[in-house]
C-alpha cells in the first residue's frame, strides 16, 4: 500500500502550509462529530441516547485505531482497557456510603472514597494507560496473529479477574448508581478529545515512525527505528484513550456489568474500524458513526419507522441480521473500508478517486 504521508519526511514548512496539511484531515472527523452531537438534540430521548452511545463507542474505536491503525497489528484486547477504565470510573463514582453496603468486600481505599465526574474520567484514562503499558511491555514483541491472540488472552484474564475478585470489582453484579453525567456535551467533547489526541499522535514523529514500521518492519528497523519502543508508546496511549472512553461510557450507562465490556463490544468496535478503514483516523470515526447509526436505524425500524411517507416495520430482532449483512456487503465492495484507509483530503473531494490496485 502506498502512504505518502509516511514516506515524505518533511522539514520545516511555512506555517500556512502546515496548517493546511493538518486542517482538512482533522476538520472531517471534528465536523462529523459535531454534526452528530448537535443533530442528536432534535430527536426523541431514546434516539438521543443512541446517538450519544454512537459518539462514545466511536471514541473507543478511535482509541483502538491509535494502536491498530498505526501499527498494523489487530488488537482483540482493547476492550480490556475500555473495561478497566469503565470499572475504575464506575466504582469510584458510586457514592461511598452505598458502596459500603453493596460491596463490603472491596479494598478499603476503593470502598471508602468516591470521585467527581472529571476526576473519574481522568482516572479511567490513567488506569487504562498504565494497564496497557504494563501488558504492552511484554506483548508488543509479538506480531501478526500471535499478537492478536495474546491481546485477546489479556481480555479473557481481565474479564475473569473483574468478575471473580470481589476486592476490586463488583463480581457477577452490576455497579449501580453511577451518576449519568454523559449527555450531549460530554459525549461530543469526549470524542473530540480522543480525536485530537489520536491526530496529534499520528502527526508526531512517533506516529510516523510506527507507521513506517507498519509498511515495512525490516526497512524501518534498518533505518534505526526502535519498533518495540514505538509500538509500546502507541499501545499505552491507545490504552489511555480506550480507558477514557470506557469511563465516559459508564457515565452514560449509569450502571455497568462485566459482560457489557467483553466479546460483543470487542467485535463491534473491530467491525467499526474495519468497515470505516483501518489505516486512518478518518476511517475510525466514519466507521464508528456509520455502524452505530445503522444499528440505531435498524433498531428503530423494528419499532416501526416512517420513511418518506411509507411506514416500514422490520420483523422483531432482525436488526442484528441486517447489520451483519450490511457489514459483509461493505467488506465485499470496499475491502479496505469505506474511506479506503485514507485521511480526508480536499483533492479526494474535488475529483473522483482512481480505482484502487
Amino acid at each position: 500500500m502506498s502512504a505518502p504521508e509516511t514516506t515524505a519526511l518533511v522539514g520545516r514548512r511555512p506555517a500556512r502550509l502546515v496548517l493546511g496539511r493538518h486542517l482538512v484531515p482533522l476538520a472531517g472527523p471534528v465536523a462529523l462529530t459535531i454534526v452528530v452531537g448537535v443533530a442528536s438534540s432534535a430527536f426523541s430521548d431514546s434516539v438521543q441516547l443512541q446517538l450519544h452511545t454512537a459518539l462514545v463507542t466511536t471514541a473507543m474505536v478511535v482509541g483502538l485505531s491509535v494502536f491498530s491503525g498505526n501499527s498494523g497489528i489487530v488488537s482483540f484486547g482493547h476492550v480490556s482497557f475500555v473495561g478497566v477504565g469503565a470499572f475504575a470510573a464506575g466504582i469510584m463514582s458510586m457514592p461511598a456510603q452505598q458502596k459500603a453496603t453493596v460491596f463490603p468486600e472491596l479494598f478499603g481505599f476503593i470502598r471508602d472514597n468516591d470521585l467527581g465526574n472529571v476526576a473519574s474520567l481522568a482516572l479511567g484514562a490513567l488506569v487504562g494507560g498504565i494497564f496497557a503499558l504494563v501488558v504492552g511491555t511484554a506483548l508488543v514483541r509479538l506480531s501478526g496473529l500471535g499478537a492478536g491472540i495474546a491481546t485477546f488472552a489479556v481480555l479473557g484474564i481481565t474479564r475473569n479477574v473483574l468478575r471473580n475478585w470481589s476486592g476490586v470489582g463488583p463480581g457477577a453484579k452490576a455497579i449501580p448508581s453511577i451518576p449519568q453525567t454523559t449527555g450531549l456535551t460530554q459525549a461530543t467533547v469526549a470524542l473530540l478529545v480522543c480525536i485530537g489526541v489520536a491526530y496529534a499522535y499520528q502527526a508526531s514523529r512517533w506516529g510516523r515512525r510506527l507507521r513506517a514500521s507498519r509498511e515495512d518492519p525490516a526497512a524501518a528497523r534498518g533505518s534505526g527505528i526502535g519498533v518495540y519502543k514505538e509500538r509500546l508508546i502507541a499501545f499505552a496511549l491507545s490504552g489511555a484513550v480506550a480507558g477514557f472512553a470506557g469511563a465516559v461510557y459508564v457515565h452514560l450507562l449509569g450502571s455497568v456489568s462485566v459482560d457489557q465490556v467483553y466479546l460483543e463490544l470487542t467485535f463491534l468496535t473491530l467491525a467499526m474500524l474495519v468497515v470505516g478503514g483501518i489505516d486512518s483516523l478518518w476511517g475510525a470515526v466514519v466507521g464508528g458513526l456509520f455502524v452505530s447509526l445503522l444499528n440505531s436505524l435498524l433498531f428503530e425500524g423494528e419499532k416501526g419507522l416512517s420513511v418518506v411517507g411509507i411506514d416500514v416495520t422490520l420483523p422483531a430482532s432482525s436488526s442484528n441480521i441486517a447489520i451483519a449483512v450490511v457489514m459483509m456487503i461493505v467488506i465485499l465492495v470496499r475491502p479496505r473500508g469505506i474511506t479506503g484507509g485514507r485521511e480526508l483530503r480536499l483533492r479526494a473531494l474535488r475529483r473522483p478517486r482512481r480505482a484502487e490496485g
Binding site: V74, S143, I149, A150, A153, L332
Partner: protein, 293 residues
C-alpha cells in the same frame, strides 16, 4: 491414581479440541484465512440435532453432517471466495461478520434460550477400573478423535487432493503455477473442516447437551487460541495446539484448588501468553527468521 484420572479426562477433552483445531488449521493452511465462523458450523449442527429429535440417531448425525457441510460451502462461496486477494485483517473481520450473521439468525429462529440436543446421552455413563472412573464418552472421544486425525493425515499424505492441499499450504503461488486448482483445494478443506466439526459436535453433545447461539463460539475461540499457540502454518502443529489447549484446560481445572477454580480462565490465558512470548511462531513449530520481525 488421582492424577491418572486427571490425565484421562484431559486427554479426552484434548482430543475434542484437536478435532476443532484441525478444521481451523486446514482452512488456514490452504486459504490463509482465520475462520472465526468455524464455531458456527458446530452451532448449525447442534440446532439440526435439536430439530431432528426423535429420528434414529444415525440419520440425525448424517443430517447434521449434511447441514454443516452445506453451511461451510456456502460460507466459502459467498463470503470468502470473493476476498481471496484481500488483506488478512479484512478477511478476519469478514469471517467475524459471518459468525455474527449466523448467530443472529439462530437467535431469531431459536431464541437465546438453550435447546437440548439429546444425542447419545448414554455415553455419559461410566465404568470403574479400581479407583478410576471412565466415561464411555471418554473412550469414544479418544477413539473417534484418533481415527479421524489418522484418516485426515492419511488423506493429506496419500491422495492427490491431500498433496495439493499441502502444496498450497506451503506455497500457494508455486502450487498454482504447477497446476493446482485453488478452488478445488479450498472446497476440499471446507468439506473436511465440516466433517471434523460435526464429529466434534457429536462428541460434545452428550456433555454439553444444550445448544445456544454462542455454543460454537465458545468452543471455537478456545480452539483458535490453541491453533495459534501450537503454530498455524502446519495442520499437524495446529492440531497439537488444539489438543494442548483442551488438555491444559482440563488439567488446570483438576489441579486448581476448588475455591480458585473460578480463575481457570486467567490461568489458561496466562499460560497462553507465556507460550506466545517464549515461542512466538508456535509451540510445535520451528522458529523462522521472518516470524521474528
Amino acid at each position: 491414581m488421582k492424577y491418572v484420572q486427571y490425565l484421562i479426562d484431559a486427554i479426552a477433552l484434548g482430543s475434542l479440541y484437536a478435532l476443532v483445531a484441525l478444521g481451523i488449521g486446514l482452512v488456514f493452511g490452504v486459504m490463509r484465512i482465520v475462520n472465526l465462523a468455524h464455531g458456527e458450523l458446530l452451532m448449525a449442527g447442534g440446532y439440526t440435532l435439536y430439530e431432528t429429535n426423535g429420528w434414529p440417531a444415525v440419520l440425525r448425525v448424517l443430517t447434521a453432517l449434511a447441514v454443516v457441510i452445506a453451511v461451510a460451502l456456502l460460507m466459502e462461496r459467498l463470503a470468502l471466495r470473493p476476498l481471496r486477494r484481500a488483506s488478512p485483517t479484512t478477511t478476519l473481520v469478514m469471517t467475524f461478520a459471518v459468525s455474527f450473521l449466523l448467530r443472529s439468525i439462530a437467535q431469531k429462529r431459536w431464541s437465546a434460550q438453550g435447546k437440548t440436543m439429546n444425542l447419545f446421552t448414554d455415553l455419559n455413563q461410566a465404568f470403574t477400573i479400581g479407583e478410576l472412573r471412565i466415561k464411555y464418552l471418554t473412550i469414544a472421544a479418544v477413539v473417534v478423535g484418533g481415527v479421524l486425525l489418522g484418516a485426515v493425515t492419511l488423506f493429506l499424505d496419500r491422495t492427490d487432493l491431500g498433496l495439493q492441499m499441502r502444496a498450497t499450504a506451503s506455497d500457494e503461488r508455486i502450487a498454482q503455477a504447477l497446476g493446482v486448482r485453488a478452488n478445488h483445494v479450498v472446497v476440499g478443506a471446507f468439506v473436511i473442516a465440516g466433517v471434523l466439526a460435526t464429529a466434534a459436535l457429536v462428541l460434545f453433545a452428550p456433555q454439553r447437551p444444550v445448544v445456544t447461539p454462542d455454543f460454537g463460539l465458545q468452543i471455537a475461540i478456545l480452539a483458535l487460541v490453541g491453533v495459534v499457540v501450537g503454530g498455524m502454518d502446519k495442520p499437524s502443529s495446529a492440531t497439537l495446539g488444539g489438543f494442548f489447549i483442551g488438555f491444559a484446560n482440563s488439567m488446570l481445572f483438576s489441579l486448581l484448588p476448588k475455591g480458585q477454580r473460578v480463575f481457570l480462565d486467567s490461568a489458561l490465558y496466562g499460560l497462553v501468553i507465556v507460550v506466545l512470548l517464549v515461542r512466538p511462531s508456535g509451540l510445535f513449530q520451528r522458529e523462522t527468521v521472518t516470524s521474528r520481525l
